[in-house]
Symmetry: D2
Subunit: 266 residues, 4 copies
């Protein structure tokens, strides 16, 4: 910290720092206290939450991360591969292109569900009983519908009956003693939605993951970011495969060849 | 797979796929065989290498990932934070902006070292003795210098004497029985460089990490991508902190206020 | 168009196409009918609006584009420069990083204003008289405030009294005969806001630009994109200057050096 | 400029600045001297080159920009559209994703040609005669081939005989009196390549554009950036069309449906 820092009280960070003979990350000495002791999942938790996770929390965070790491040849994976076709020397650009599709339609719903549930639980005791949470759910769903918004975390274009990740995630959370108020509320939100709309929508994996992350202590506004860690792993795997067995070039040439003219806007 | 797939032998992927009631990732059933069993680190290894890591490989991969996850308020972290200042609603863009700085100057050297060492070892037996590897190192360094290129993996602007990550990484690799030909060659490359140039440059953490990843079975061309997984974790932590204690706005206003005019190009 | 195109009625585009001896852009032969005849501004208009602009429309589009091209060492320009520091070999990544900050806080307001005004004018005749538009403005402002949202297009952190771009833009639009309903409505929105809040906020350049673009025939949802064309020009200039007189490296080193520790989250 | 600026001689910029009642861009008062007088093309030239273009230079710069703005449903355009599918609310991310594919394979060759020609012309008089330039070309091609590199600016996967942009660009440059040493050298490079390899490769539009930009005074290292201005216009047009007639979602679903399994890496 230099002398001018007195003039910059805003310039503070606890993530990391370095001197000629030491590197500190999350307040720990990197070589001595992190390397060989913490996994990437544990370090991410430490840096985001401000303390190391328990063993159960670490296992549950990995459950959520692996559940969101990849979904095959999604728009995000295709964008990354097509970017690699044009700029194979800058793989960071291909990964970035893939992440940029993690918006309101894909992956964003994980954060939306987290923020929706957290907002509904403001002022509610973490150990509130089911009846209390059911009332919270009814109100939250009614308010959401009243504003013409979709209830986040429910429904899936492919997994119309049950998202196979959801029951497994709930099972593992229960086994770890981490079935917290956000996961519990999400089940009651699904039930309240069915009552109020007459239509059953399954809890999707994105929503369940978002609820689980908040129950793990991740700030709701950071949930969307945490998902990107998992997704980067999937994208890097797609690009390793693209280097070995490219599909971007053929996808482009075939698409261009098949395209028909469109009338211009009027 | 639809009927047209017969016409598209190029359109193949082993990363992931989904049906209405199942999700497969890396050839495994996601809910049953991945969630609750594999960590994010293990899944990334599986998807990139094509098989699950051993326990030692998993631990060593985590050693490398945590060693590269963050280095404080780097240009990459600052770019992510300044992007968040303008577009806090699109955190994927801020993470992408941070990753885009992982080029030839920062993080890229990890991949450069991996490719340099792997190229030097083409045709060399994985269990070659030290004398053989020393000869490989001498030739590789001489060729590199002859082409006017810097030897990758050596030297650091801050850690001029010793990069504190490097001895720890070698120690842990030895303890795990994973001190493979790339890590061994890198030490001999440092020695050969000192002999040929008369100047000692320490092995930097980026270079040691790159060598370790190839010894773990990561394809050299995928090393640069793997580093991005680690770095995404660091960037998401910076953005969580930026949401809690913003520095982007003040950094901008102060920088703009301090800037003096520059003569235009002539 | 290949035979399979019959199966893909969705696969249509009017932007561009190529054969071995021709290139078509916006329905025109690129070498014969575009090169040497249309400016970049005119081609952008043609591709987005579907027809060539009149001379007045072209001049006015350039007025808006140059007014939004650059604002000095903004967070966006700094993010681009810091990305260049790490990856100078991939300038597309540095430009992309700069664009990613064009979100809800910066540049986004141009599109927000465009969409706000266009929504308010649904069903209103383009040549509605001032009294009608004043009523539209009052209702739109009241609705906006009722929803707890800021009225877009008003106020500026630096130009608190008058944004110097705004009167000039209105003057030029009037001179070109292009003072359309969106620009007219924005003035009345500013007046209605002052009446309803008791506080005068100047029309900012972003808002005036957004209104002008819709009056020019740009679809409101494309306004935010059009702004990016202008901003790319500014960012490329920043990066040309960064290559000549770098500031990214010093900004990073000084910032890191000045940073003090922050207490971790609790 | 604050007092601390004395300590920061590195912190200088001539692109733009603002005070409460003025905005300066490229040393000019934005409202008075830029808006209504300069086109976006002219402002870009001013900011990058440091002076306003002549009328001929402005026309020629527009020739190059429109020639590079779009090539239909390229990998870059598809990546932008697929990103929009996932994050339609953050159009800056979709444009960024499209730009990220402007690497060594696409658009990068424009900058590669510019740098190759400029390097060959170091120390050569701008008005050197054809015989001198022919010798420069022979040497440059021989050196390039000796290093095992492709001569940049020649050959095209689709326009195998003649790139239709090239003769038109040369014709317009001659008409404007802007057929400078880089464009002249490129023709001689094509001839020397045919002599040395026995194979005729046409000058491609990317290469001709790169040569023309350096003849216009654009620094060779900034050529790659200038191309991005043109390409942003094309990408924004693709996204405006994608909003009107989406193809990203169907392209994704069809691609995923057609994909067959791939054997994992061994």
């Amino acid at each position: 910290m230099a002398a001018v820092a007195d003039d910059a009280p805003w310039l503070r960070s606890s993530i990391g720092s370095a001197t000629p003979d030491s590197i500190t990350v999350g307040g720990l000495d990197l070589p001595a206290d992190v390397m060989g002791r913490l996994s990437l999942t544990e370090l991410a938790y430490l840096l985001i939450v401000g303390r190391e996770p328990t063993a159960a929390e670490r296992r549950m965070l990995d459950v959520v991360l692996v559940s969101l790491a990849d979904h095959g040849l999604t728009p995000s994976a295709l964008a990354a591969r097509l970017t690699y076709t044009g700029a194979p020397e800058a793989v960071q650009g291909a990964v970035a292109a893939g992440l940029l599709g993690a918006g309101s339609v894909f992956l964003g719903p994980t954060g939306d569900t987290a923020e929706f549930l957290a907002a509904a639980l403001v002022g509610v005791a973490p150990d509130a009983d089911d009846a209390t949470l059911a009332g919270v759910a009814e109100d939250a769903v009614a308010r959401c519908r009243g504003e013409g918004r979709r209830v986040p975390g429910l429904g899936h274009p492919v997994h119309t009956d049950t998202d196979p990740r959801t029951p497994r995630l709930y099972e593992l959370a229960a086994a770890e003693g981490l079935l917290g108020p956000h996961l519990r509320l999400l089940e009651l939100v699904a039930a309240a939605t069915e009552v109020q709309t007459g239509r059953r929508l399954p809890i999707n994996g994105a929503g369940a993951g978002g609820a689980a992350l908040v129950d793990l202590g991740i700030p709701p506004t950071s949930v969307r970011g945490v998902v990107l860690i998992a997704r980067t792993a999937g994208l890097v795997a797609h690009l390793a495969e693209e280097a070995r067995h490219p599909i971007g070039r053929e996808l482009w040439l075939e698409t261009e060849d098949r395209a028909a003219p469109l009338d211009p806007p009027t």
